[in-house]
Symmetry: C2
């Protein structure tokens, strides 16, 4: 069966985003990333920076903490955390985008949000710490934290966020159709395999 | 980097064994299955049937329970369970086979036993319950238990065995280089991808 929609979960620094973009280009279908942030910003009134920051990370932080530091925010929902509020809106945005037609969506628990659709291919990309540490320093530069710590922190946040909102273990192979170690298989080859499965060649 | 050794973990009924055999044939390298059981039988004095039965399943069962019902067994180890005893011997057999040269090994926690070798490709094959239920009834016939129960029982045993002896979660994508849903990707296509990665084409 041909798949129309690709979701890509990924460890930080594994090249999942690059692979997802490459697949979208080769299949000639939209790659949603910035669009999701823009749509969520439009619906919530949150800034795009804030959505980027907590969209896959935070949980349980009170929406008041945002509202107090950003007084212009409309429609604060009593008692709901900013993260829960974002989850509700982001989930709706992703369901709507999938309805529009073939596309590629990275992260944001899209694999679980769209799990009832039979035309979705769910992929997870990961790699060794060594491969990812070298890659993030090369692409994003040095920072105060050691690369290994940056990887561990970001992965821990994604894992906690995924568990909190889906109840599932992030990176459990049973939740994906294809899990690839991009360090061993190669980023280009990962894209090739995914394109081949999407096309059902 | 070219990989010499392939380990294949698999859910019951997913076609992992078929895929492993196909890859071994195409690469012209040995596929170890019966040989492991024979070697373990030779080293332990256990019957091949008994090894097949508990080699990937049981844990903690006292070696005495075997010895009492099979009075000829030599060298019973005081207090060690039959399963622990088998683990020690089976692990050594797998390490020795890997030393001999390129090969394919299915199950038996070989991925973890050989994890320090850099020439090993670790693969996990899984599929939906529907796909596997249809397949086991077609291949192995009906039994008293419903197919869904047979799948759940066997997977639970493999998961517990893997956790007990390796400390790792069975099917966690981070422990494998390639995890494939054989129902979605297709058994033939799974074999093709694995051959391609092994050859580093």
């Amino acid at each position: 069966m041909k798949r129309n929609i690709l979701t890509v979960g990924r460890q930080f620094g594994s090249g999942g985003r690059t692979i997802a973009k490459t697949v979208a280009e080769r299949l000639g279908i939209p790659y949603y990333d910035k669009e999701i942030v823009e749509k969520v910003a439009l619906e919530t009134g949150f800034s795009e920076e804030y959505i980027e920051q907590i969209g896959e990370h935070a949980r349980g932080k009170s929406v008041w903490s945002y509202a107090f530091s950003n007084p212009g925010v409309p429609g604060v929902m009593g008692g709901m955390s900013a993260s829960d509020f974002l989850w509700v809106i982001q989930r709706k945005v992703i369901l709507d985008l999938a309805e529009k037609g073939p596309c590629v969506i990275v992260g944001r628990c899209a694999d679980q949000i769209l799990k009832d659709r039979e035309d979705v291919l769910r992929v997870f990309i990961h790699a060794s710490d060594e491969f990812r540490a070298e890659r993030i320093v090369r692409l994003y530069g040095e920072s105060e934290s050691k690369p290994e710590k940056r990887l561990a922190d970001k992965d821990a946040k994604r894992r906690a966020h995924y568990k909190h909102y889906t109840g599932e273990e992030w990176g459990n192979s049973l939740n994906y159709h294809l899990c690839l170690d991009s360090g061993v298989i190669g980023i280009e080859k990962c894209a090739e395999y995914i394109v081949s499965v999407m096309k059902d060649e």
